[in-house]
Point group: C2
């Protein structure tokens, strides 16, 4: 027994969940503040854990970030969901899938963390760039290779989805933030579809 205020030292009995608690807390903080603004101490406090535990388990802040922001969905699965099925409904499927990703908390966290961090941190921007380039484009573009400028089109498409995500979930402009999933699918789906339909190339320089 330790009558004084501080907690007792030493290892806790039982099978501790500290490591996982830290990961959960880290995702929360990185999600809300981005890499630079999230602090080791705030993460530790959120996990109700001593800050030193973070270094004990993960070494340093950067390694913790890499461990926490491990995008918890398989890009291949997403890409397959989007690209399989009727081609003329691909736009709607893309919007619906993308919205679905944001609505699931355990996926939205890392995504937000990555987005927020990418805005101010070079390493995180590189991660996001790589993620967009490799995971998304590497899988979706091949399905569209009959179009001219397939890469550019795919990126324009993704840029729309990301912009919508930011305005809806981060900046929270109305009425975008409160619009229903169906509304957005109906509105944005056809527009996304536009990118993968072979419209007239206008003036091919």
């Amino acid at each position: 027994m330790n009558a004084k205020g501080g907690k007792v030292r030493g290892r806790r009995p039982g099978n501790g969940s500290t490591r996982d608690d830290i990961l959960v807390a880290a995702r929360g903080e990185f999600e809300e503040k981005g890499y630079d603004s999230a602090t080791v101490r705030a993460i530790a406090a959120r996990a109700e854990v001593d800050p030193a535990m973070i270094h004990h388990f993960f070494g340093n802040k950067e390694k913790l970030f890499l461990a926490a922001v491990d995008v918890p969905f398989d890009p291949a699965t997403i890409a397959e969901t989007v690209t399989s099925g009727r081609r003329d409904q691909l736009g709607e499927r893309a919007v619906r899938t993308f919205l679905g990703v944001w609505e699931h908390q355990h996926v939205r966290g890392p995504l937000l963390a990555l987005l927020r961090s990418a805005m101010t941190n070079r390493a995180a921007a590189a991660m996001l760039r790589q993620f967009v380039t490799r995971a998304l484009l590497g899988r979706v573009v091949p399905a569209l290779d009959d179009l001219p400028d397939a890469e550019l089109r795919a990126e324009a498409l993704v840029s729309h989805l990301i912009g919508m995500g930011i305005l809806r979930y981060v900046v929270q402009v109305e009425p975008l933030a409160s619009a229903s999933e169906d509304e957005l699918v109906a509105l944005i789906g056809p527009v996304i579809q536009h990118y993968i339909s072979d419209v007239e190339p206008s003036d091919g320089s």
Copy 2:
């Protein structure tokens, strides 16, 4: 004369440009790092000025931010440029105008600063939300009020432009980052146009 290393104290002769130097440096730092990650000391160093000068001239960091990130273009002018002219070319005009804004350095700075800051800072997010809601929608939506869901459409439109800006200028994914202005206008313009053309409302629930 002061033989020692430090600079001489006291006021400098001549009409100093310190205040403006600070503003320029502040825009640079806020632009590159966002509000939270930019530091008073780094701004001072960039302006080649003592950190105390910042508080002397601006009081504190937040007031400096407000003074520095004073969006240097008139939203009314932009809106007029976009909304005047042939309606069926509005999409292309919007894309071209938006790209033009980003290409001018003295405009791109504050915009980037606002965007970066909005990702991690509530006050900045509120500023951006207000900016989007009031400046853009307040002026563009009235010109589109014959469309259903004019507000939502306008925001979807803006979200695409913002997403493109982020992917092109911040994350710098290729080939988006290196695409020419004309390429982007040709590709994205028609899609933006889609939002302001009265397509079939699909299924009005």
